[in-house]
């Protein structure tokens, strides 16, 4: 491999990696906000994302709706499913003195219900894609080749991240979410409704997942098993430190770029295992993640 080839691969790998990484980053943020406010690693994250893709597919393929209608309906539907799940199921588990294990298993239950339900519709029998939102013209940056869709994915993801920044820093609800993440009891004392905030956080996680699904499904083929992608989101969240939103975003981009570079330089076969190695290395070397702050010591 000549120097010129390496340079070309490097550019292509980094740019493609940033595109897929932006989607992992969004999903990782969804994982992190739910984990911070409810202490639950949401193992249904991947399936929520998958449902977002299939809700959109259903409306386009079966109902034949226009994108302008499909996008908002998908976002609302997925956010509503998530909010409902937190309100009806998770609150009930918390009320019956469920601790971490029980909450996690409830999310696993949701994951299987969603997967089975999508399989029931029959839409998942063959891998499918959403029709492209915009013309798939190629764009050349440096020596790397991207499509306009790639650029749209990256820029939309960045806009969503900016929106999250504004939400968490400049709105009362966002600040209440952060407060609940820091100290639920204290925030309850100052008048924050925990039930409402937890529900809104799940809805927000659903919203972000639906956005990611609509962004990436025109680019990839989805099946009911696409929920595996959540592994990458978890990897991103862990690499960044599971309680840090900026960490999750950085982690997402790192995982995306690492995946592409491994694919280009090592082999496409090794792509699958790269995130797990990343998780293992980060957890062994720096268990709190890159931006995770001090290591936590919880119960004594």
């Amino acid at each position: 491999m000549s120097v010129a080839d390496i340079w070309l691969f490097l550019q292509q790998g980094v740019l493609s990696g940033l595109v897929t990484g932006s989607v992992y980053a969004l999903l990782a943020v969804a994982v992190v906000i739910v984990f911070k406010t409810t202490d639950v690693p949401n193992f249904a994250q991947g399936e929520i994302f998958m449902v977002g893709g299939y809700v959109a597919l259903f409306m386009i393929l079966v109902l034949d709706w226009h994108y302008a209608l499909v996008i908002p309906v998908t976002l609302i539907a997925v956010a509503a499913i998530c909010a409902l799940f937190q309100r009806v199921v998770m609150e009930r588990v918390i009320a019956s003195k469920g601790v971490g294990v029980q909450l996690v298993i409830a999310t696993l239950g949701l994951a299987y219900v969603l997967k089975g339900a999508v399989r029931q519709t029959g839409l998942g029998d063959a891998p499918r894609s959403l029709p492209a939102l915009i013309a798939p013209d190629t764009v050349i940056i440096g020596d790397a080749v991207l499509t306009r869709l790639d650029l749209m994915i990256l820029s939309t993801a960045l806009v969503v991240m900016l929106g999250l920044y504004v939400l968490f820093n400049h709105t009362r609800t966002g600040k209440a979410m952060r407060a609940v993440g820091m100290n639920p009891k204290a925030s309850q004392i100052v008048g924050v409704s925990l039930v409402r905030i937890r529900m809104l956080v799940w809805a927000l996680a659903g919203l972000i997942s639906a956005v990611s699904a609509i962004l990436i499904t025109p680019k990839i083929l989805i099946t009911p098993d696409i929920g595996h992608i959540a592994i990458l989101a978890f990897a991103a969240a862990i690499v960044g430190g599971i309680t840090s939103i900026p960490g999750a975003i950085v982690g997402g981009f790192i995982i995306g770029v690492a995946e592409n570079l491994v694919g280009l330089f090592v082999s496409t076969n090794a792509i699958v295992v790269a995130p797990f190695l990343a998780i293992l290395i980060v957890l062994v070397v720096r268990p709190q993640g890159i931006l995770g702050g001090k290591a936590q010591v919880k119960k004594v």
Partner: protein, 322 residues
């Protein structure tokens, strides 16, 4: 009330299992063999999660290691199945000890995720180490041997899986009554307090990982007595979750919960194998339902009511049977 629930259940199970090979078809025996494997797997996960409180999600990996080790030994040397099962257990235990040594640096979600990552990485190894595991084509295993006797059918393997599961059940009960079992539970309740009582929490956690992996490895070894084929696809996260469901719905920390959970969910999983979407929906609903209305599972609740009943002075009467 001389005999309690456990003894009645064990006696009934022994009778059924003794009669079954004379009346049941090969398919039913196959399912029973599989249930025995699930029981051993569930008991192994019970050791690390139920007894020691370490949330490890790598069980399927050690199960897979056990299957491949035993299968490879069977193919190469046709040893006595006791040897291949033991070697499978020992290899898995060794790797379990190593993973434990790394993983005990972490707790809670970090532990869960790093063991999860290990499980996924192992599945990748099974899928891609073509020279040894034959990769995604699956691995063909020759029948196990027992003193010149070739186990070519489910019927012939049946006594070995049943005895194996019974032995492991006995070991589990013995273990949980031993000093080591007390140390496991001390670490589960609080490793700081356990340290203060002179229990080396780190060593105990590593030992728990090792024991759990040994169970899974031996379950893998027993699997090779009646199965002739393994595909890495069945050694993924889903299998770990299936075992986890068994012990959680059975009741975390309860041996009888692990056994009965293994039987119930082993049966459901086998009966619904042909209908993937129904299987998924039903599993999901069972999980959600249990977590909502009986988060402590089938069996811890019984123990709690008994304790509560004893506390109110009603425990000595016949009112303890829930």
């Amino acid at each position: 009330m001389k005999m309690d629930f456990d003894k009645w259940a064990l006696a009934a199970a022994a009778v059924v299992l003794a009669v079954l090979p004379f009346i049941a078809s090969g398919y039913i025996l196959y399912i029973v063999n599989l249930l025995m494997i699930y029981i051993v797997l569930a008991l192994g996960l019970h050791i690390v999660i139920g007894e020691t409180g370490q949330f490890a999600l790598s069980h399927a990996a050690f199960y897979g290691i056990g299957i491949y080790v035993a299968g490879i030994i069977n193919n190469a040397w046709h040893p006595n199945l006791v040897i291949s099962v033991l070697v499978a257990g020992v290899v898995a235990a060794g790797l379990g000890y190593l993973l434990g040594a790394l993983a005990i640096r972490m707790r809670d979600i970090y532990l869960a995720l790093s063991t999860f990552a290990f499980g996924e990485a192992m599945q990748w190894v099974f899928l891609n180490w073509n020279e040894v595991t034959n990769g995604s084509n699956g691995y063909q295993m020759s029948p196990a041997w027992f003193f010149g006797f070739e186990l070519t059918s489910d019927l012939r393997a049946y006594p070995f899986t049943v005895l194996g599961a019974a032995l492991m059940l006995w070991v589990t009960v013995w273990l949980s009554r031993s000093q080591l079992g007390a140390a496991f539970r001390a670490v589960r309740e609080s490793d700081v307090a356990a340290q203060a009582m002179g229990v080396n929490a780190n060593v105990i956690k590593r030992v728990a990982f090792m024991c759990s992996a040994a169970y899974a490895g031996m379950a893998g070894g027993l699997y090779t007595t009646f199965a002739s084929f393994i595909h890495p696809e069945s050694l993924g996260f889903w299998t770990t979750i299936l075992i986890l469901i068994m012990i959680v719905v059975g009741g975390i920390g309860s041996v009888r919960g692990a056994v009965i959970g293994a039987v119930i969910f082993g049966l459901i999983s086998e009966l619904l194998r042909q209908m993937l979407s129904f299987q998924e929906i039903i599993y999901g609903l069972i999980l959600i339902g249990f977590m909502m209305f009986a988060p402590r599972g089938l069996f811890s609740g019984r123990r709690r009511t008994r304790k509560a009943a004893a506390a109110t002075g009603a425990g000595s009467s016949g009112g303890t049977q829930a």
